[in-house]
């Protein structure tokens, strides 16, 4: 197996990692970089728990070969808060009871971020359409939609996005 020294830009930091061609992005992020906020839940791209943002777009890290993400800007849940200040979406998930077991939460929040970056004034239906690839088994989704809409409003009113 050919090993390669690859550069990854994760959460604004540059990392050098030895990778092999078959390695998945989720394994690089979790095992090599210790970013365990990236969650493995299905391995088949059906649930969205492993979602990270690559150049601002949500991708499924369990289906993405690590080599394809070299030198790109990767954002994981660990990179979302500014120090101890939570991102408005994170805060809204807490305030609106959108978190239960938390296993889908990082993927949900990052997918929601990609939505709000592109569409700061989503409707309830827009939120549902954007989060359709992220399964949650606990909340029944009601409070997740509420939280994303509240976060959108908070960002519009000047909370940092």
């Amino acid at each position: 197996m050919i090993k390669e020294l690859a550069n990854f830009k994760v959460n604004g930091r540059l990392y050098e990692v030895i990778i092999e061609p078959h390695m998945l992005l989720i394994d690089v992020l979790r095992d090599k970089l210790g970013l365990t906020g990236v969650k493995y839940a299905c391995g088949t791209g059906d649930c969205g728990a492993c979602t990270v943002l690559v150049d601002g777009k949500p991708i499924l890290s369990c289906l993405t070969l690590a080599v394809t993400a070299k030198n790109k800007n990767i954002l994981t849940i660990e990179g979302l808060a500014q120090g101890n200040t939570l991102h408005p979406i994170q805060q809204a998930f807490i305030d609106h009871g959108a978190v239960q077991c938390g296993f889908c939460t990082p993927g949900m929040i990052l997918t929601a971020k990609a939505l709000l970056d592109e569409n700061p004034t989503p409707t309830r239906e827009d939120v549902k359409a954007a989060l359709d690839g992220n399964l949650c088994r606990c909340t029944g989704y009601v409070k997740i939609v509420d939280a994303v809409l509240a976060a959108a409003e908070r960002i519009r009113k000047g909370g940092k996005g």
């Binding site: 365990t36 969650k39 009871g97 239960q100 296993f103 399964l135 088994r137 029944g140 009601v142 409070k143």
Partner: protein, 778 residues
């Protein structure tokens, strides 16, 4: 409580939310121990086969492989995966079937555990699995419980002829149902069955284990009842003392009852014992699907009689439960089904009998509702059928037959201390628009898309006192700054219980919510508790927290009384400050009292701390009504739920946001159970065909209807601040209310879950054949 409640009843943020939104929360799969090995399990490709030989010599030679274990290497004491069984009274536990070993010498389903490997990493362990040569002697399999009960069927467990694992009679059979049926004016009967719904907690099963050099075992796993699991490990499996085991529960990524079973913990501990190193076993989603946890399939016939005036006279319930390959929770879930089903209505003649059967299919377990959603799907349809025969409105028929305070609860010897089911029914009916939308029985509806409305009611436990050892303990210690650490052992699997218990603690002691820190998830620290299940944690553990909190408060008040030179009964505490009731401006902070109790230079110091206990002898039932409005597409067979209303008798909502979360989450799981979640085992090969989220459809965000939650709040005297349980009930009314709404829309009843478009179309076809043929006979 004299003072205002500052925490109870408020929508306060749960303590585990912040680490979950930042990625800081540590789940089992996130834990790395020094020198840790990876464990993998070899699973049988055959549904029923004797293992005649295992040759692991090639696998052992693979560099990086540290151990391979088979049936030969595991303890020969049989156990049950139901760790919850440890909380059954001894005479009931004797009825539990102990039919499993860590690894088996006989495969009883496709996926049964045959051998296990520990290696330096997962890929080496997987390569080793491929190198293990197993010789199987295939045996004829049986996949259907009715086939399995026939004479001459293949025997899955030695000594269990016709594969009957157990026969169970309902604990509260009474009267004479057959005689009552003869004397009843109307009779209705319906047979239905649920599917083996999968829990689908997003965090796959995982365990870590390590035996230190003194022979003490530490287990890390997302377990709902770690103190009971510890006992099962000690007494049933490894033959060591309970004190030789420390069980740590990391952050838990969903449970829903799956984690009441021992999952990969025993095999992980065995690999750790053999290698002397820490081992982690993680499973894949596909393994989880074809594995060891699902709802037990219960085929149920319910016959019900009533008089002309609408009084229910008799209920007969017959159940065949398909346990799958091992007994697990199938006995207790079936017993609970009968209790909930037969105990909901006032009825003098009751008969319930059940048979638990083995098949060569994946093992089942307990799932949210624990028998109640299984029974409700059938019961609530029979109730509607009977109402139709009598010509009664389903709302009125139910109102006439529900029990009220002072009558027996579903656990017959214990009378109901509290019940607000009537309010739930009336409020729910109002919000769904029952009067305007329910047009009476047999009203013909036209058009391709037809709307219908249906309802269901239920009762459930707030802890299973009388059935389980309902025992919880809590400890609290005050810090020098007047804040407190609350030490409790529920399982925070997402429901928000740590926040709820903190709110109870805060208002019991007169402290602020933000001054309560919670310590949990470590059996070396926490006191005994039977964990989170049976919708028990708020009620039972909450009462233990109140007991501990009141003792802390008493200590603080006595010390403050000395300091203020006033009698303690003239003082109270609010928001961390002791004050004189008659002169609230006079007082002293809890911080000062707490600090001085520790930094005491008069040699009378003692850290302010207390333990509290609670044992519940009752179930303190909670109640609920559910109402569904559906639109059925008669060309595609698709049932679309337009609106779902839940009215729940909660006693008091300690945190309304969490209560809504439980009910909404339960409702959406119920929606999947009702309409899309279909666990399919290939009836030729025994293979699980629904083995991913692509082939087993749980609801996505686009599938949810409008959901309205109504909390009926009137405190129950025995509950902490009046609260009752709510963890499970959200799921129960969904499928039956949709089934009744479907009948209202198109006049079709479906006998098995999920109610797929195919079944709806079949039902429509059968109905039109029946109505178009003059010579139809039954």
């Amino acid at each position: 409580m004299a003072q205002e409640l500052t925490s109870v009843g408020k929508r306060l943020p749960r303590p585990d939310a912040a680490p979950k939104v930042t990625g800081a929360a540590e789940y089992g799969s996130d834990i790395k121990l020094p020198g840790m090995l990876a464990g993998r399990i070899l699973r049988s490709p055959y549904p029923h086969a004797k293992i005649t030989k295992i040759d692991a010599s090639q696998a052992k030679k693979l560099p990086g492989v540290e151990a391979i274990i088979t049936f030969e290497d595991v303890p020969k004491s049989p156990f049950t995966r139901s760790a919850m069984a440890e909380a059954l009274p001894p005479h009931v536990y004797e009825g539990e079937v102990l039919d499993q070993y860590i690894l088996s010498d006989k495969a009883r389903y496709v996926g049964d555990w045959v051998a296990a490997v520990a290696a330096i990493d997962v890929s080496t362990a997987e390569q080793a699995l491929d190198l293990i040569e197993v010789q199987y002697e295939q045996l004829p399999p049986v996949f259907d419980p009715v086939e399995a009960m026939k004479p001459g069927a293949p025997v899955i467990h030695e000594g269990k002829e016709r594969n009957i694992a157990a026969n169970i009679s309902h604990a509260f059979n009474c009267g004479d149902v057959e005689k009552a049926f003869q004397e009843s004016d109307y009779i209705a009967e319906f047979t239905g069955q649920n599917s083996k719904q999968k829990h689908c907690h997003l965090e796959p099963d995982v365990a870590l284990a390590y035996w230190d050099t003194d022979g003490r075992l530490t287990v890390w796993s997302p377990c709902q009842n770690p103190h009971l699991a510890k006992k099962a490990f000690a007494r049933r499996i490894f033959g060591i003392g309970e004190g030789d085991i420390r069980w740590i529960t990391p952050t838990v990524g969903g449970g829903f009852g799956a984690r009441l079973s021992l999952c990969v913990e025993p095999v992980c501990a065995m690999l750790a014992k053999v290698t002397g190193k820490p081992v982690k076993v993680e499973v894949t989603r596909e393994e989880d699907f074809a594995g060891w946890n699902s709802r037990t399939e219960q085929r149920q016939s319910i016959k019900m009689g009533a008089n002309k005036d609408g009084t229910i006279t008799a209920i007969r319930d017959r159940i065949i439960s398909d346990a799958g390959a091992y007994f697990s929770h199938s006995g207790t879930t079936t017993a609970v089904n009968m209790q909930m089903t037969l105990g909901l209505f006032r009825c003098p003649n009751i008969s319930g009998e059940a048979t638990i059967v083995y098949t060569n299919t994946p093992t089942t377990s307990g799932f949210r509702g624990y028998g109640n959603p299984e029974g409700a799907f059938v019961l609530q349809q029979v109730v509607d059928m009977l109402a139709e025969k009598i010509g009664k409105d389903p709302v009125e028929f139910r109102l006439k037959n529900i029990k009220t305070v002072g009558e027996s609860s579903f656990f017959i010897p214990v009378p109901l201390e509290h019940c607000r089911l009537e309010q739930c029914i009336r409020l729910g009916a109002e919000r769904i628009g029952w009067k305007e939308k329910w047009g009476g029985w047999g009203k013909k509806k036209e058009g391709r898309k037809r709307r219908g409305i249906g309802m269901s009611i239920m009762n459930h436990s707030s802890g299973a006192g009388g059935f389980l050892l309902e025992h919880s303990n809590a400890a609290i210690k005050l810090h020098e700054d007047g804040s407190a650490t609350l030490i409790v052992s529920p399982c925070e699997m997402g429901q928000g219980i740590l926040g709820v218990l903190s709110q109870i603690a805060a208002d019991t002691m007169g402290l602020r919510y933000e001054d309560i820190h919670v310590m949990t998830g470590d059996t070396d620290v926490t006191l005994f508790d039977i964990g989170s299940h049976a919708s028990r944690s708020t009620y039972v553990i909450g009462n233990a927290v109140m007991d501990a909190g009141s003792k802390i408060k008493r200590q603080v008040l006595e010390l403050a009384a000395e300091k203020l030179k006033i009698s303690a009964d003239k003082l109270d505490i609010e928001e961390g400050r002791v004050y004189v009731q008659a002169a609230p401006q006079e007082g002293v902070s809890v911080a000062e009292i707490s600090h001085d109790a520790i930094y005491n230079y008069e040699l009378t110091g003692a850290h302010i701390s207390a333990t509290g206990s609670f044992q519940s002898g009752t179930h303190c039932p909670n109640f609920q009504a559910g109402f569904a409005e559906v639109e059925v597409d008669t060309e595609t067979g698709v049932i679309k739920v337009i609106k779902y209303v839940i009215a729940h008798d909660i006693g008091r909502a300690i945190n309304p946001q969490n209560v809504e979360g439980q009910l909404e989450g339960g409702a959406v799981q119920g929606l999947g159970y009702a309409l899309s979640e279909d666990f399919i085992v290939d009836k030729r090969t025994g293979e699980t065909l629904s083995d991913s989220f692509a082939t087993y459809k749980i609801p996505s965000i686009l599938d949810i209807p409008e959901i309205e939650v109504i909390l009926v709040e009137e405190p129950v005297p025995s509950g902490p601040f009046g609260a009752k349980g709510v963890g499970e009930p959200g799921i129960t009314n969904v499928a039956p209310s949709i089934a009744n709404a479907l009948y209202d829309a198109i006049g079709v009843r479906i006998h098995s879950l999920p109610m797929t478009p195919e079944k709806v179309l079949e039902g429509l076809k059968a109905k039109s054949l029946k109505s178009s043929s003059f010579r139809t006979t039954r």
